[in-house]
Each structure stands twice: as structure tokens, then as C-alpha cells.
Amino acid sequence: MSNKLISQMGLPSSLANVFSARNILTAKDALSLPEFDLMALLDVDRDQVRTAVARISEIACPPCRTALSLMEDRALTGGYLPTRLLGLDRALRGGIPFGALTELVGPSGIGKTQFCLKLALLAALPSSYGGLNGRVIYMDTESKFHSTRLIEIGRSSFPHIFNSEGMAQEMAGRIIVLRPASLDELTERYVQMLFVLLNLAIVNFMYGLHRENERSTTGQKQHSCHLPLSFLKSLAEFSQIPIVVTNQVRSQNNYEVVHYPFQGNTDRTSCMLEKLESHLIASLGIQWAHAVTIRLIFEAHSGQYTPQILV
């Protein structure tokens, strides 16, 4: 939308020519400049600039939709991947949503990878068994994917499918596993994902790749995480598929407790209390956290592993 050409917007030709003469070719070029700058650059009066900018904005602006039409679209596409965990599906109003980024967080060993394997299977299953009958891309940055385990899960959860001739091969064949060795390769793979017909993408444990960049300045670290993240989000929305990412949790140190200025200085006792609670932070910080739509937190409660949801 921002790259729409001004020449194709139906402005009066004299004005359109002036824009192109000054090398303002796209909507982005025109809208980044303030009114006075445009007036000076194009040598036209304010009213002309205003009508031109209004016209460019109208065309560059994405079309307006009512929430009702969004709902109707959702009803058509199905909208979610059921996880088969009744409580979770009920809380998620159906399952893992299409078109959004879902994050799985929890300490190591709690079962995130197992959950991902199950999801991969669920997406590969034929629709008669409640699956998406589709292809899955599993981005395994920590080499945690074990196909023997995958088949084992398949055999015990869906025995009637997996024990029939050739089905195990068919199902496992729908899951594509990628093992990018560097951040650059990961980013390259993301781009490739655009051209593959997909029904689910799982990115397991992104933190591993970013750890090697940790020694660089914090600014750089945020940028390097942000690009693949926003890309994943756009990919999810554009292709209307569910994308699941897992994240590591690290425990918070005392000095990292950050507050707003109006909260004042917390005294020692309250700090201690806060520490005793499950004060878990997802790695990669705040900017990452803002971009994820749904976060599923895996916690251990008295020996049982239970996912809780934070939307």
C-alpha cells in the first residue's frame, strides 16, 4: 500500500507531473513530508497540496471493513486449529487461531516441544480426523525434533491412522523440518516460507540463535529479533495460517525489577515477596512480547504440567 505509485492515483495530470518531476513517486514519499515542505518542493499552493494529499491518503489507506465482515470471513476459513485439549480449546474459543502469532513459554523440560510435535501431527491429519490435511514447516533451531518421538505420539494418539498401511509415512511426509544454523539462514527460510503452501508453521526455541548475538549492544539485539518477528506476523496474517513459536523463560534477578516512576521505590520486603512468586520473564524482552497475539504459559503446578493462557 505504501508503495503505490502516485502516477496511478488519478490526480490531475499537471499535479501528477509535478510530483514525478520532483522524484516523489510513491505514497510513502509523499506522505512522509509535511505540508509546507511539499508546498515548497512542488511550488503549488496549500489547497492543491491538501487535496492531493487527501487523495493519496485515501488510496494508500487500507480498505475499511466492519468487524462483522471479519467474523464472517472467520466462519468461512474455519479460523483455528483445535488442540484436542478440551479446556484449552474452550479458553481459546476453538483452538490455535489462524492469522496470528501464538507463543508457547515455559521453563525447559516442561513439554513445549512435545506440544509442538502434537500440533504438527494435528495439522497433518486428514480433515476427516479433525486435522488441517496440510503441510507443516517445523523450524528447529535447537535440534530438538525427533521423528521417532513424533511417530510414537502418532501411534498412541491416533492408532487407527498410524497403524494402517503407509499412513505413517504420509503423515510424517507432510512435516518439513528445517534446521537453520545461523540467524541469516533463519531469515532466509522465513522468506522461502512465503512461496510454500502451508497450513502451520512451528518455530521451536528461537532464543538459541539470538544468544550468540547477546554480546552485541542491546539496540542491535532488539533489531535483529524484531525483523523475523514482524515477518512471521505478516506471514501468518497474509496466508491466514497459525504460527506457533516457543520461547525460553529465564528467572528474573532482583536488580531487574523495573517499575514506573509513580510506583516509588519498593522496599526490601515487597521485593522479596515478588521474587517468591513465579516471576518469570520470557527472554527477548518487551518488544517481542508486544508483537505476539496469544501467549500460552506452561507452568508446573504441584507436579502436574498445566498450560495457562495469557491473551
Partner: protein
């Protein structure tokens, strides 16, 4: 039209005929008292806000991820539609989504909760106060105008286009931008340009608020700032942006509870109120509400 009304009133009260379009403070008072605020769904929060989110003002709401900004945004887009007969504004909403966090199923759930509460609160009336078609989730959904913005250019274009859109849709009473920050935080090397663009956007939105008598709610993210030897949380976009809004509300965790704090306001006192995010939407705090705290 407002200019001629002002002239007529001021000539009646015997003065200010020279100041075209001006209003006396007394006239503004009567106007302010007549203007209904938009309820948030939580009584305590409404109380510290002076009834709810005010129209003709730009309110910024910020907080860490997961605190409930989008929830509050959706709740306001729903509550603005509460019919006049039930004490609401009966207006429509514009929802500008820059992050893709608007989940239409959640909006549907919040609408159901709102309608259920309306019926419960007005139980003593035997009949419905309005035509039953109005109190249906689908008609509420149809009154939310949704724009999905994917870049800062589209954000600028959308705000510009709103000028024409609001002329054509006079019954819009709230604009929610979720969030104002997203496209301006990364890759924006030219900070001067960022300040300029944001300033232009906020003054346009303020103009819409005054002209069309609507509430503008801008949701903002947080960042950490190094002040006096320690890191502190602050709303994103810097100091120059913090002057752009009329009111500023920060949502934060206080122990295990969600709270809202009025950080800046020309008319409201600094105060804090607890609230809860339930399956029905934003509500008062009841005795037990569990949560898992994440940063």
C-alpha cells in the same frame, strides 16, 4: 455552524462578538456537563476518570504486554455503542489496528457480556427499551469500522483519510488506535522526522476529537529508561510525544491485580483504580482473580 452559535450566544450575553468561534467558559461548562463519557465497564475505573473516557479529548493508555490494553480498547469500542436508552452514547467505533491484535472472536465475547449485563441491570423493565435487533452481537460488530495498518505510511494515510471518513459517518463516537507506537519504534532512523510525523498525527486526531465530538484513545507500548541510576518503565515514543495527549493512563500490575493510574490529566486527579479482565471484558475486581505474571 458552531461559530454562528457562539456569535448568537455572545451577542445575547453582551460581548465577545469580535472573537469569531470563541466560547465562554460558562458555555463550555454546560457543554461538558452534557457530554456523556464512555464507560469502561469497571465502575472504579470510571469513577477516577470522571465517569469514563471523555469525548472531545485524546486519551493515551499505555502498559506492558499482557496488561489489557487491547482488551480495554475493544471494550470501549463496544461500550460506545450502548444505546442512549440504556445510558450510553449509541455511537459507532473506528478501530485502527497496527499490530494485528484485534481478535474478532474476543470482540464477539465482549459484546455478549455487555448485552447480558445491560439486560441484567435493567431487569426491572419488563420490555426491552429498544428494538431487539439493536441488542444483537452482529449489529454491534457491524458498527465497528476496522482498519488493518501494516506500515507507518498506511498509518499516516489512515489518519488523513479519517477526515473524509468522519464526514461521511457522523455517528462515530470513538477512534481507537492499537497501538500508535508499533510502526514507529523500529527502523526509524530519523528521530526528528518521527517526532514531526507523530506530532502531525496527534494534532489531526485532536482536531477530529473536537470537531466531531468523539473520544480518541491511543494505546501505547512501554520501554525502559535509565533515570537516576536505575531503569524505569516509561511509555514509548519519548518525551516530545508525552505532550501530545490530553490524558494519560498507565495500566500496571500492583502485586497480583491490574491497576490503572492517571498519570497526566488537566482535569482529573492522579489516582489509581483496580480492574479485572474477565471473559465478559473489563469489569470490577471481585475477591479472587488469579493470574500469572509475565514481563
Amino acid at each position: 455552524m458552531s461559530a454562528s452559535i457562539a456569535m448568537a450566544e455572545s451577542s445575547r450575553s453582551g460581548g465577545h462578538a469580535l472573537l469569531d468561534g470563541a466560547q465562554t467558559a460558562w458555555d463550555m461548562l454546560s457543554e461538558e456537563q452534557m457530554q456523556k463519557p464512555i464507560t469502561t465497564g469497571c465502575e472504579e475505573l470510571d469513577t477516577i476518570l470522571g465517569g469514563g473516557i471523555q469525548c472531545k479529548a485524546v486519551t493515551e493508555i499505555g502498559g506492558i504486554p499482557g496488561i489489557g490494553k487491547t482488551q480495554l480498547g475493544i471494550q470501549l469500542a463496544v461500550n460506545v455503542q450502548i444505546p442512549v436508552q440504556y445510558g450510553g452514547l449509541g455511537g459507532k467505533a473506528v478501530y485502527i489496528d497496527t499490530e494485528g491484535s484485534f481478535m474478532v472472536e474476543r470482540a464477539h465475547q465482549i459484546i455478549e457480556g455487555c448485552i447480558a449485563d445491560l439486560f441484567e441491570n435493567f431487569e426491572h423493565r419488563k420490555q426491552s427499551l429498544v428494538c431487539p435487533d439493536i441488542l444483537q452481537p452482529n449489529s454491534f460488530l457491524a458498527n465497528i469500522f476496522y482498519f488493518r495498518i501494516c506500515s507507518y505510511t498506511e498509518q499516516i494515510a489512515a489518519v488523513n483519510y479519517l477526515e473524509k471518513f468522519l464526514e461521511e459517518h457522523q455517528d462515530v463516537n470513538i477512534i481507537v488506535v492499537d497501538s500508535i507506537t508499533f510502526h514507529f519504534r523500529r527502523d526509524f532512523d530519523d528521530l526528528a522526522m518521527r517526532t514531526r510525523v507523530l506530532g502531525g498525527m496527534s494534532s489531526k486526531l485532536m482536531r477530529f476529537a473536537k470537531k466531531h465530538n468523539l473520544a480518541v484513545v491511543l494505546l501505547n507500548q512501554v520501554t525502559t529508561k535509565f533515570v537516576d541510576g536505575s531503569f524505569q518503565l516509561t511509555l514509548a515514543l519519548g518525551d516530545s510525544w508525552s505532550h501530545a495527549c490530553t490524558n494519560r493512563i498507565i495500566l500496571y500490575w500492583n502485586g497480583n491485580e491490574r491497576h490503572a493510574y492517571i498519570d497526566k490529566s488537566p482535569s482529573l486527579r492522579s489516582a489509581s483504580a483496580p480492574f479485572q479482565v474477565t471473559s465478559k471484558g473489563i469489569r470490577n475486581v471481585t475477591s479472587n482473580c488469579k493470574r500469572v505474571r509475565m514481563m
